[in-house]
């Protein structure tokens, strides 16, 4: 296993968030009643013709520029011919030899090192419909077809075979998703299919320059699936080679439940897509000035934003990277910072408790009930000493669950910090009186028990005692006793 390395390339399909489809004026909305978002054109009725939606071209250029691609001066559409019942014309309008964009890259960070991953090409194409099966595709007695998705605009982003590990593949996908989300041309929701990924993988002996025979893995429905499937497939290929076998070039399906990749029935028919120039569409000659206008309209992208967070907010690089991984989280962070200048404190909360709770509840930050203003209010309550840091965590959980303002929670639950010295001193006396043995230990030199006594004070005040006061008063009392 250690003698081998994997060579991985990813083909990612991203649905563009235009209002209408790529070649007709039907809506691209996800869901809806079956076959409700169709017209003669996307249904492929006899006699219809495609007309390109300019917004699709604009969005595709925007994504390509964000991925550092060169935009072609001349591009065209081609037909990719294959039969499948979800494809109304039995050909897909795509791009073959003159794609919209080429030669891009993005940078990923793995084990603290930056690695540049090449993007070979980006092209535009139309999406297909959806098939519904009863049970699985192999057991269903018949299938149902919904063409709502046909003609939704896609871009296909083909990476160079620069990835070497499943972790790199995952980092590449996360970065790609972040960049495209930042541009606003797609939601990139894998669960809704607006981001889809196929992986090409081969293995070779370390140090070898030649590529091994690759397999293509399909049905990867989450980033985790990509990582798991690649790890499995690499193990499988190495095992085959170690046993003296040969890798067959084929398409394999990832079986999420079983955790394996399976060969798809290899019909003897080799793929022959018979690409040829789409005669119903005319060529694209892309205006340089327009490209520059689109470039100028690009928002700040993840790498730039990360650099800015380091510079402007003085955040550690790690914090900046995590906060900018998704546009939503970065936006959330900045809304908070706009209201509250201690960026590191905000960062700690967003990266710490907030992320932990979001993950635990499988929620996106956009669905979080705690508004930036509320998080900032909580931080201020701590600053003012109204609540302790420990209490703040409790309040935060309550805010996350209910969306209530922190002041309200503190008031309702009586969580205001006790800062009255007399009151805390009284509690200290009680604690010392109740724990004579521990006190004796302390006086005998076992200073470690101090923490236990503090804990008792906090417990007696249900955590509300100001910790510093509690510490000081306790220490003073004990030193007094020592002095006697």
């Amino acid at each position: 296993m250690h003698d081998y390395e994997a060579v991985i390339g990813l083909e990612v399909h991203v649905e563009l968030k235009t209002n209408t489809k790529i070649f007709c004026r039907c809506p691209t909305a996800f869901g809806g009643d079956p076959n409700a978002h169709v017209c003669p054109v996307c249904l492929g009725l006899p006699g219809v013709l495609p007309v390109l939606n300019k917004k699709v071209l604009e969005y595709a250029i925007k994504a390509a520029l964000a991925l550092n691609c060169e935009i072609a001066a001349y591009s065209k559409f081609d037909r990719k011919n294959y039969y499948y019942p979800d494809l109304p014309k039995n050909y897909q309008i795509s791009q073959y030899d003159l794609p919209l964009a080429r030669n891009g890259y993005l940078d990923i960070e793995v084990d603290g090192e930056v690695k540049r991953v090449g993007i070979i090409r980006i092209h535009m194409e139309e999406d297909a419909g959806k098939l519904l099966h009863q049970g699985t595709i192999t057991t269903t007695p018949y299938s149902l077809v919904d063409y709502n998705r046909t003609g939704v605009p896609l871009i296909e982003i083909v990476s160079a075979p620069d990835l070497r590990t499943p972790e790199e593949a995952k980092a590449y996908l996360e970065k790609l998703k972040a960049i495209i989300q930042y541009t606003g041309v797609s939601d990139c929701k894998m669960e809704e299919g607006s981001l889809r990924c196929d992986a090409n993988v081969s293995v070779r002996k370390k140090g070898s320059r030649e590529f091994g025979t690759k397999t293509e893995i399909k049905n990867l429905n989450s980033f985790k699936a990509v990582q798991r499937a690649l790890a499995y497939e690499i193990r499988r290929q190495v095992a085959v080679l170690e046993e003296g076998g040969r890798i067959v070039q084929e398409t394999r399906m990832w079986d999420e439940a079983e955790g394996v990749t399976r060969s798809m029935r290899s019909k003897e028919e080799a793929h022959d897509y018979r690409y040829f120039p789409e005669p119903d569409l005319v060529p694209l000659v892309i205006d340089r000035q327009w490209v520059e206008e689109i470039r100028a309209s690009l928002p700040e992208l993840p790498d730039q934003r990360r650099q800015r967070y380091i510079k402007q907010y003085g955040l550690p690089p790690y914090d900046a990277a995590v906060l900018t991984a998704t546009k939503e989280m970065a936006d959330y962070f900045e809304e908070c910072v706009a209201l509250y200048p201690n960026a590191k404190a905000v960062s700690n909360w967003v990266m710490g408790d907030l992320s932990r709770l979001l993950n635990a509840h499988n929620l996106e930050i956009t669905r979080c009930k705690i508004r930036p203003q509320q998080l900032v209010d909580l931080l201020r309550l701590m600053d003012k000493g109204t609540i302790s840091g420990k209490i703040a965590k409790t309040v935060f959980e309550e805010m996350f669950a209910t969306g209530k303002d922190p002041e309200e929670i503190v008031r309702e639950q009586g969580l205001v910090q006790i800062t009255d010295e007399g009151a805390i001193a009284a509690v200290v006396e009680e604690v010392l009186a109740a724990n004579p043995k521990v006190v004796a230990d302390y006086l005998g030199g076992k200073e470690k028990v101090f923490a236990f006594l503090v804990g008792q004070v906090m417990k007696a005040t249900r955590g509300k005692a100001n910790p510093e006061l509690a510490n000081r008063l306790l220490r003073e009392k004990l030193e007094n006793l020592k002095g006697r």
């Binding site: 004026r25 009643d33 018949y142 077809v145 063409y147």
Partner: protein
Amino acid sequence: MISIKEVEHVALLARLELSEEEKEMYARQLGAILEYAQMLNELDTADVPPTAHVLPLQNVWREKDEVGRQLEPEEVLANAPDREGQFFKVPRIV
């Protein structure tokens, strides 16, 4: 000039089921047509650009990304050979 095997391969690509007689007929006829087409090799076209389009047109597109009229549900399925509810229905895929 073209083999039965090639005819079978092309027929599969084109999703046509051919009888043995048809295979032989198409092998013969396609062979004759393709042989006739060899005539094109008389021409040196190394420096000739292909014409996929006779038109001087480029950059034809729809400017407005605005939703237009869709078909009524019954219009969508009116011609369907088989349906279930609002879906088109097809035999098993594999």
